[in-house]
Every structure is written in C-alpha cells, then in structure tokens.
C-alpha cells in the first residue's frame, strides 16, 4: 500500500494539471498515479510534471535510448512503479522488451547497441553506482558520440528521473497491475 494516498481524479480541477495528466496517460510514463500524488503539493506539481514529460519525450536524444536508461535507473533505484511503466511512443518506435532487458543487463557485450548507446547507458549506470568514474576521461569519450547540448540533456534526464524514482520508492509505490 502506498504511504501517501493519491488525490481522487475529480479532486484535481486545475486545467493545466488535467492536461498534464492526459499527456502522461498518452505517453504511458508516468500513468496517472504519480501526478495524483504530486498534485497534493499543488504549487510544485505542474513544474515537476512538465519537466518529467519534457525531459523524456522531447529533446535531441533518441527517445528509445532514454526509455531504456529510465528503466535501467528505476531498477537500480529499486522503484517498482517507474520500472514497470512503458512509453507508448517508444513502443511505437519499435522498442521491445528484449532490447530493454539487454540495456538493463550486460549491455557492454550486447550487439544490440552502438558504441554511442553503450556510452550513454554507462553514463546512467555509473552516475549512481560510482560517480567517480564519470570523470574527465569519461566526458572526453562521451563527447566523441554526443554534442554538449545532448550530454546536458542526457545528464539532466538521468538526474531528474532517478530523483523522482527514489521519491516514489520512498512512498512504497508498487508496480501497476498488468505491467511487465
């Protein structure tokens, strides 16, 4: 059972928040649980929701790569809720469970990923496993695959989603029914 109960949908009347919930449901990440919880802190809810959706579904880094990174981080964070959610946009782009499992496993030896994708996965993996390995040499390497704006986009995406996953874990959020 989740420690902080989400607001009932009918208790949320702010048009922008309702639009953000619709955007979430269309994307599939998050579903309506996260926004109904954060809606309890009305002033914070909208900017957090905008950042969550924008950092994942927009930008100049491949959405499917971000989706794999998001799931890898959620598993690392021990957050069953976000780990179980899947982006419909990524699925429509061809991302399947085999590729997700490979990205969350031994991606370094997988032939499913380019060197650039492996470097991005390593960025997420090492950030919260051993941040000292994300050093000047690592940034020099990642710059051979991505532009500096893309690296900042990736880093901010990783930091924000990991933080929200740790928050949801702290609330004891479970995986939604019917999710992988």
């Amino acid at each position: 059972m989740i420690y902080v109960a989400p607001l009932p949908r009918e208790a949320i009347t702010d048009p922008e928040m309702l639009d953000l919930i619709e955007q979430s449901e269309a994307l599939g990440v998050p579903d309506d649980l996260f926004p109904r919880i954060v809606a309890r802190a009305a002033e914070q809810a909208k900017p957090f929701m905008r950042a969550l959706l924008m950092s994942h579904a927009e930008g100049n880094v491949d959405h499917c790569l971000k989706e794999i990174i998001r799931i890898l981080l959620a598993r690392f964070a021990g957050d069953r809720y976000f780990a179980a959610l899947r982006s419909r946009k990524a699925r429509e782009m061809g991302l399947d469970e085999e590729r997700i499992a490979a990205g969350c496993g031994d991606y370094e030896d997988s032939d499913l990923f380019t060197e650039a994708e492996k470097c991005a996965l390593r960025y997420a993996d090492q950030m919260y496993l051993d941040a000292t390995k994300v050093d000047a040499a690592f940034y020099a390497e990642i710059k051979t695959h991505f532009t500096e704006p893309q690296i900042m986009e990736l880093g901010a995406f990783i930091a924000f989603h990991y933080g929200m996953q740790m928050f949801m874990r702290s609330l004891g959020a479970a995986a939604p029914r019917g999710t992988p």
């Binding site: 000047a136 990783i158 989603h161 990991y162 933080g163 740790m166 928050f167």
Partner: protein
C-alpha cells in the same frame, strides 16, 4: 533531515511507520513537497558533482575562475563529499 538522508542511503528504512512519524510534524502536502525536493536534489547533486563545478566565490566574497576556486576548495567538489552521518 532524516527523510533526506534515508532516501539517499537506506530507502528501505522509509516505511509506513516512518511516514506516520513524519505526519506528526508535517501535512500530506508538505510531505509530498519535501519528498519531491529531496528526490530532485538527490538526483541533481550527483550529476552536478560529475561536472566538477566549483563555487563561484571565495570565502571572502571574491569572484573566482574555476581554476582558482579548485585551488581554494580542493579537488573534490563538496557535492561528492559524504555527509557526516553517512560516513
């Protein structure tokens, strides 16, 4: 403060009993606000730490270059230093 430290170091210790204790002091709205703030900072401080930012100002208020700041504040940014409780 305990909520922030546990989220980073021992999230399994944040259970229903811990949340009940938190409710003695904070409303549901405040708990969600705190949790979002802590999660956000938990994620971003590690990211910023990897970028090796140094303070822009010296302890006496002078504007510094990053090289000057590193000499004053040392090679490891404060954001990567473990807290006293986490040691």
């Amino acid at each position: 403060m305990r909520y922030s430290e546990l989220m980073a170091t021992d999230p399994d210790a944040i259970d229903a009993a811990f949340l009940d204790a938190l409710r003695q002091h904070y409303s549901e709205e405040e708990i969600v606000e705190l949790g979002l703030f802590i999660g956000f900072n938990l994620g971003y401080h590690t990211f910023f730490g990897t970028l090796k930012f140094y303070p822009l100002f010296s302890p006496d208020g002078r504007l510094l270059t990053q090289a000057e700041s590193e000499k004053i504040y040392g090679p490891a940014p404060g954001s990567l230093q473990p807290s006293e409780h986490a040691k």
